[in-house]
């Protein structure tokens, strides 16, 4: 039985290993990028840095989904929406930072507002020139949406498939809304051509590395947070809700509160991921809301292995790395590969890669190691829907 306090989560072996590897990799890339000159053989290009940064953002997003899906059994097909909202909040801040350096040199209005000749800044854009405000919104907006939506849904006991489908409807509706130019978020073009963040130019390698490190830190802390949550009694209740919701009610838990709590926390994490994503890829547009993205995200988690947290991270990074390689080498094959992955994982590897690995590992260990130490056995997967 793990120590269920925050300090416990921080010091537990899994978290330590995780952070070790994560920071190790980040540090390595950072050094290779910063120390060696571009022409040296050991130099790591800014391309790789941002790529890694992007992966880590996805990993954080996957982590968020794993929390609701893996542990609480809520398959949200709308997490892309929270991600995108966080992204837009950050994007709006970055837009305001451009100031009069836009092509029209208008100090007040972003370019897209100028050529659609808007007269003044819409009210909901105010405040986004302050970083603290933007930062607050990054967490608040997705959190609030998740809270309201979840409150409605869980209170009236919308579960399983129905929930998945209305979450999908949610992100779909948001996508349509953000495509509208009247909404004042740049329509299809979204927000782009960012200049700098907190005064650091987004064009410089140093900033990129900084963002990478920031992402790594965010991911690590999110991981610890999730370990803490899942390790605490709350985590056990949530698991109980997943496996036998009505029982949980009969022993006196307001299961809807627990679902809502986890859903909201997860949405906030997703928003954070989005916020870190935008400055690194340099654009946010309604495409991020597309239901397809949200479903793809689910597969990252499934591939890695549900309800293990690190499984989600591994899945996200592997799938996206695969995507990068494939779309470069044989674009036509990518969708086949992805589709195949969906089918294969759901049918043959319900526990994902981590499950597979750990099974083999267990077998090996049984053969060699004498002492049976039961730490970190990933929570076995049940068929819950």
């Amino acid at each position: 039985m793990r120590d269920s306090t925050f300090k416990g989560a921080l010091s537990d072996r899994t978290a330590r290993t995780f952070m070790g590897v994560l920071f190790g990799a980040t540090l390595l890339v950072t050094l290779l990028n910063q120390i060696f000159p571009p022409d040296s053989a050991l130099h790591v290009s800014a391309y790789t840095v941002t790529l890694l940064g992007k992966y880590l953002c996805y990993a954080l997003l996957a982590l968020a989904l794993d929390l609701v899906w893996g542990y609480c059994g809520i398959l949200s097909l709308g997490h892309g929406a929270f991600f995108a909202l966080g992204g837009y909040a950050m994007g709006m801040y970055l837009m305001r930072q451009i100031g009069d350096r836009g092509v029209y040199g208008n100090p007040e209005l972003p370019d897209f507002m100028v050529f659609l000749n808007w007269q003044e800044l819409p009210w909901y854009w105010h405040g986004f020139d302050q970083f603290w405000f933007a930062a607050l919104m990054i967490l608040l907006v997705p959190g609030l949406l998740a809270f309201v939506f979840g409150w409605l849904a869980f209170r009236s006991r919308v579960t399983g498939v129905y929930l998945s489908i209305i979450t999908q409807a949610l992100t779909y509706a948001l996508m349509l809304a953000f495509f509208r130019n009247e909404l004042g978020f740049g329509g299809n073009n979204g927000l782009t051509d960012f200049k700098d963040l907190l005064g650091f130019s987004l064009q410089s390698d140093a900033t990129r590395v900084g963002l990478l490190i920031a992402t790594a830190v965010a991911l690590a802390s999110a991981f610890v947070l999730c370990r803490w949550i899942t390790g605490s009694k709350l985590g056990r209740v949530v698991l109980a809700v997943r496996d036998a919701e009505s029982r949980a009610r009969f022993v006196g838990y307001r299961t809807e509160h627990y679902k809502l709590w986890v859903f909201t926390v997860s949405a906030i994490l997703a928003g954070l991921a989005g916020a870190l994503y935008v400055p690194q890829v340099g654009i946010i547009n309604p495409g991020e809301f597309s239901p397809l993205n949200s479903i793809e995200l689910v597969v990252w988690v499934a591939v890695g292995g549900r309800a293990t947290l690190y499984g989600a991270v591994i899945g996200a990074i592997l799938v996206n790395y695969g995507k990068t390689v494939f779309t470069g080498v044989m674009p036509e094959a990518w969708l086949f590969a992805l589709g195949g992955l969906f089918v294969a994982v759901t049918v043959f590897l319900p526990q994902g890669i981590v499950g597979l690995v750990s099974q083999h590992w267990e077998r090996l260990r049984k053969r060699f190691v004498k002492t049976g130490d039961t730490d970190d056995t990933p929570a076995a997967q049940g068929e819950h829907s």
């Binding site: 092509v103 329509g187 299809n188 470069g328 990518w334 981590v354």
Partner: protein
């Protein structure tokens, strides 16, 4: 433990990846690398994959002629998969990792917007072959497609002068190109003395498929006595159901002609054009234009694709022009260095496929002829009108309050993408 093992795998993966990524960075010195950045999967693959083939064809032809400055051209094709952030990422990959000297790519405005900061940061060279909304001029980008004044405005002139149109429906998909174009047209029409209530503006989402209400609105709008026409900036997929609905509700080209800016031979190849005969499109090129260079180009294309049904279209011509200009510029500059080529580009002339010459202006936009064609039942256009001489591409529209004072001139002394003629200053990011 199982976990820590898998984490080690991950670490290995990350390092491996960075290794692979960087290994690509070794450049082959004896070839000139040409990046091709068109979506081969996803929603835009429909249009963009054609342009990829066009570039590859041009490269092949060029290499047959012995390449450029004695070096062979080596295409580097990547797939941004119709995913806008991926466009930026792939651009970075092409320039830093693959070390390409020029990129031909992008279709949608958003993809260009996403790529723009990267090419400017890395001082790359991008040729953008699609008609677009203007309001942009980057030192690192050459726009070989039509600007609004090379498509929209002449088309409207034709409607007014030749067809005596008095009422206009500006129908478009809700994104930046139609929005801007319609803003410009609205201003232009009003300047021409068209009353505000003789202009109807309508926006629909991407891939809109249920046009019943809108077409019937257009019908009733058009039955007010004055000759009415639709100016359509409806994008790609939405067109088929739109035209089908027009046909079914009996809106013939004689009653209410539709002039489209995003419907070319490629799009028509997906439509049964029988009911559409007589509707119009404005481009700088039509496959049906009869002259030897075009005939030759079409033959090449059919040979290259091994399909003599494959059509050619305006963005292909734009690619063709852009590519030839780049080749000329490189040979003129005797270098593939971006700045040298960019300077050499300005003033370069190459033949276009409509029997004239294309000229690259100081604002990185082309001078082209504007053609208006009527859809024929064989899926081709018959040219019914043509500007005499070339129209100079205008980066900043004179009809938008935001940009009427802006000009773009990349030659000394101005050297600015958005030079404000009022304040005599180069305002904004594009400046050097």
């Amino acid at each position: 433990m199982s976990f820590s093992q898998s984490m080690k795998k991950l670490a290995a993966g990350v390092i491996a990846s960075s290794a692979i990524v960087y290994s690509g960075a070794v450049m082959a010195a004896d070839t000139i690398k040409v990046g091709v950045l068109h979506s081969l999967s996803g929603t835009m693959a429909i249009s963009e994959s054609t342009l990829k083939d066009t570039v590859l064809m041009m490269i092949e032809e060029q290499n047959k002629k012995g390449g450029v400055m004695g070096k062979k051209l080596e295409p580097v094709v990547v797939d941004p998969a119709s995913n806008w952030p991926l466009f930026a990422e792939k651009t970075r990959e092409l320039i830093t990792k693959e070390g390409v000297d020029v990129i031909f790519g992008c279709w949608t405005s958003v993809s260009r917007k996403s790529v723009l900061p990267v090419v400017e940061e890395l001082n790359g060279l991008l040729f953008y072959p699609v008609q677009y909304e203007g309001e942009e001029s980057s030192k690192n980008v050459f726009y070989t497609g039509a600007a609004p004044n090379q498509q929209a405005i002449p088309a409207v002139d034709y409607l007014i002068n030749d067809l005596g149109v008095k009422r206009f429906v500006l129908a478009g998909t809700d994104y930046v190109y139609p929005r801007t174009t319609n803003k410009i047209l609205e201003a232009y029409l009003k300047a021409k003395g068209v009353a505000a209530d003789d202009i109807m503006i309508n926006y629909t989402p991407f891939g809109h498929s249920d046009w019943q209400s809108i077409v019937s609105d257009i019908k009733s709008f058009g039955s007010q006595g004055k000759k009415t026409a639709v100016v359509s900036t409806i994008n790609g997929d939405a067109n088929v159901p739109f035209y089908k609905e027009l046909g079914n509700q009996g809106v013939s080209a004689e009653d209410i002609p539709v002039v489209a800016f995003s419907v070319g031979e490629e799009e028509l190849s997906g439509i049964d054009t029988g009911p559409l005969v007589g509707h119009l499109a404005a481009w700088n090129y039509f496959q049906s234009v009869y002259n030897d260079s075009n005939e030759k180009f079409i033959e090449q294309w059919h040979a290259f694709t091994g399909d003599d049904k494959r059509v050619t279209n305006d963005p292909m011509e734009a690619t063709y022009i852009g590519f030839n200009m780049w080749v000329k510029a490189v040979e003129k500059a005797k270098s593939t260095d971006t700045d040298k080529v960019a300077d050499a580009m300005i003033g370069i002339e190459t033949p276009n496929l409509t029997g004239g010459m294309a000229v690259m202006n100081a604002n990185h936009h082309l001078s082209k002829p504007v053609l208006i064609g009527e859809i024929q039942d064989d899926g081709q256009f018959a040219v019914v009108w043509e500007t005499d001489g070339l129209v100079k591409g205008d980066a900043w529209s004179d009809y938008l309050p935001g940009s009427k004072d802006l000009i773009s001139d990349w030659t000394a002394p101005v050297k600015c993408g958005n030079y404000n003629t009022k304040t005599k200053s180069c305002g904004g990011a594009a400046a050097e």
